[in-house]
């Protein structure tokens, strides 16, 4: 593997308020190679989205990056000035958010919104921009005449396709996808995932894929990390995590999605109120599979009497 595209070292993010300081991301390190799909799994509030926002420097008060480094293709992202940051966002790293309805401007047509990207970032004329916007819709299989539609005239799946197309508009080498299909129906979700795979094959970008759905993640990602309360508890190749999850929390997450094949067996989740505290640093069990040591499996207990 060549030098990583994105390299994150000991990143910490804190939310500082007068009353107290909460560490949302705690000494997290990982890297993503070119064309690689890296998955970040964990439940709501574990810090997944905070990492995504930190990479793009989208964090606002009271969140502060309190330590660590983010390097993109050798450049220190945390040191970029305002002008360089503008250039970095969208052209180098683009983001797809969970809610397409909120990501699109409801009072502008799809076409105008896409044209804006090209005229602002590439400085091309409106005519050229419009032609490119049409090409972009072709890419995700939406008819060109939809350029004149407003977001509310599109279905949820189509809106998400538009948002994905817009993210790829400037051909960034890295896309961050924060729960891109969570708000969609199952059948549509599968089609959007297929679309993402096709685009990735065609355009060759790397993906940081964030979700809480382990089965979806294992299907898409090359490597993945499981996050809990701001810490990584396990990171490995996706098939390794799927076949031999080591950390009790990873196992609980895997069990949350019962299998669609094989005999029906009773699965065990994380007991109500079980909390992991003071998660130690990751240690390798194989060169590619790293796990935070955990006391024992007794943490996964059924609380049903």
């Amino acid at each position: 593997m060549t030098a990583p595209l994105l390299e994150i070292q000991d990143l910490s993010v804190e939310y500082v308020t007068e009353a107290r300081t909460v560490r949302a991301v705690d000494r997290v390190s990982f890297s993503i190679a070119e064309r690689e799909v890296f998955g970040l799994a964990g439940e709501s509030g574990c810090g997944k989205s905070t990492i995504a926002n930190a990479i793009l420097r989208l964090l606002r008060d009271p969140a502060v990056i309190s330590g660590g480094s983010v390097r993109f293709a050798g450049t220190d992202v945390l040191a970029l000035d305002a002008e360089a940051l503008r250039e970095f966002r969208w052209r180098k790293v683009a983001m797809v958010f969970q809610s397409a309805m909120n990501a699109l401007n409801p009072v502008m047509t799809i076409g105008d919104q896409i044209v804006d990207i090209f005229t602002t970032h590439d400085g091309v004329s409106k005519k050229i921009a419009l032609a490119r916007a049409g090409d972009l819709l072709d890419l995700v299989g939406i008819p060109r005449d939809r350029l004149r539609s407003y977001p509310h005239q599109l279905s949820g799946g189509m809106r998400q396709r538009v948002v994905i197309a817009m993210a790829t508009a400037l051909r960034p080498p890295l896309l961050i996808m924060d729960e891109p299909t969570t708000a969609l129906d199952v059948v549509v979700q599968q089609e959007i995932m297929a679309q993402i795979k096709d685009l990735q094959r065609e355009l060759g970008f790397a993906i940081l894929f964030i979700t809480h759905d382990m089965s979806l993640m294992v299907e898409l990602s090359d490597r993945m990390a499981v996050m809990y309360a701001g810490r990584f508890v396990e990171t490995a190749r996706s098939n390794e995590i799927f076949d031999t999850p080591e950390h009790p929390y990873t196992r609980a997450l895997m069990n949350a999605f019962p299998p669609m094949s094989g005999p029906r067996t009773r699965l065990q989740g994380l007991g109500e109120g079980v909390r992991f505290r003071d998660i130690p640093d990751l240690e390798p069990i194989t060169p590619t599979h790293w796990v935070a040591p955990s006391d024992d499996d007794s943490l996964i207990t059924e609380t049903i009497s």
């Binding site: 439940e43 382990m214 979806l216 065990q268 049903i304």
Partner: protein, 344 residues
């Protein structure tokens, strides 16, 4: 599975039509297009379909939160709509309980947890007197695996999973025979979902409660249910014993749903061309694969159900029949992407 001579619930031709768009609008949507459903004692039936397919409307009609536009249903042999026309009797409301999707919205934030259990116990006369009430509340908490101390807490102090357990305890307070669970785990954190599913399964097994489990997640339906019924655009398209139905899905919509479930164990990814074909077959049927093979004649006008197997039970709607024009819209209708256009 238990014998189905005396189903707890037996619905026939349940229909619900909503008028949409302002007070003078005549535009109608048939959210529920005449469905038949039997649920046996102690049986868990999963109702699966995309959002907007009418799953919740069916549950709300059974709970009598909505008045069905047509159809009847028997509960333990009694015709419920005929005996109490406008609203459900107190007796019925204690026998049929509902668990909602959002445990944050279903518990009033100004009351302590104890209040939510006390109210049904008192109203339905399941407990009287201070000591008896305390014992009843503690028994309920034990059943759902929560500590007694939590009775003095407020909803905001509890996690989503704990709140959903309280919602289950509240339903159990009145000794229900049928629980309607409407996507009870979809808003919970993933790590506690399976615990709530296990709890529901245990309660059904131990106390002989029947359950209608509504979900869009086929994997959890497979995990929990004895029987699965698949719903599309307000009507049933296929049903049968859970493992049989998933092993041999017959209707194109069921196969489309199954293909959409992420499954890392799947050997070959589902072919997009095949999926496009299934999607077209659902919306614009061209033929019926069982024509002439079963006793029921096919029909494009009326929803005919072909019985594919008696033991295990398995039936599917005739492949000739297409959803009528006043059926609710479906996510399938959006234009497909390029591969699908190529296939067309």
């Amino acid at each position: 599975m238990t014998a189905r001579q005396t189903p707890v619930l037996s619905a026939r031709g349940l229909e619900k039509t909503f008028t949409i768009g302002g007070a003078f609008s005549r535009k109608r949507v048939r959210a529920l297009g005449g469905v038949d459903l039997d649920i046996a004692h102690g049986e868990v039936v999963a109702l699966v379909g995309e959002s907007g397919s009418g799953k919740s409307t069916l549950a709300r009609c059974i709970a009598r939160l909505e008045q069905p536009s047509a159809g009847t249903f028997l509960f333990e042999g009694e015709d419920i709509i005929a005996t109490s026309k406008r609203r459900a009797t107190r007796e019925y409301r204690s026998a049929v309980q509902m668990i909602f999707q959002d445990p944050f919205g279903s518990l009033n934030p100004v009351h302590r947890i104890g209040h939510f259990l006390e109210r049904p116990l008192r109203i339905h006369g399941a407990a009287s007197g201070r000591a008896e009430m305390e014992r009843a509340k503690q028994r309920l908490m034990a059943k759902v695996g929560l500590p007694d101390e939590m009775l003095d807490r407020y909803p905001h102090e509890l996690s989503g999973g704990q709140r959903q357990r309280i919602a289950i305890a509240r339903a159990l307070a009145v000794n229900p025979r049928l629980i309607l669970a409407d996507e009870p785990t979809s808003m919970l954190d993933v790590s506690v979902r399976i615990g709530v599913l296990n709890l529901m399964r245990t309660l059904c097994e131990e106390q002989g409660i029947s359950m209608l489990y509504i979900t869009h997640d086929l994997a959890s339906a497979r995990y929990l249910a004895d029987r699965i019924v698949v719903m599309f655009a307000g009507e049933f398209v296929e049903g049968g014993e859970a493992m049989e139905l998933l092993a041999n899905p017959a209707h194109p919509y069921t196969r489309l749903l199954i293909s959409a479930v992420p499954d890392p164990k799947r050997v070959e990814p589902f072919d997009p061309v095949e999926r496009a074909r299934l999607r077209r077959e659902v919306l614009h049927p061209t033929g019926c694969q069982w024509a002439g093979k079963t006793t029921e004649p096919c029909s494009a006008e009326k929803a005919v159900f072909h019985r594919l197997s008696e033991q295990p039970e398995h039936w599917a709607r005739c492949g000739l029949y297409a959803p009528p024009s006043d059926a609710p819209g479906t996510a399938l209708e959006q234009p497909a992407h390029d591969q699908e256009n190529d296939a067309a």
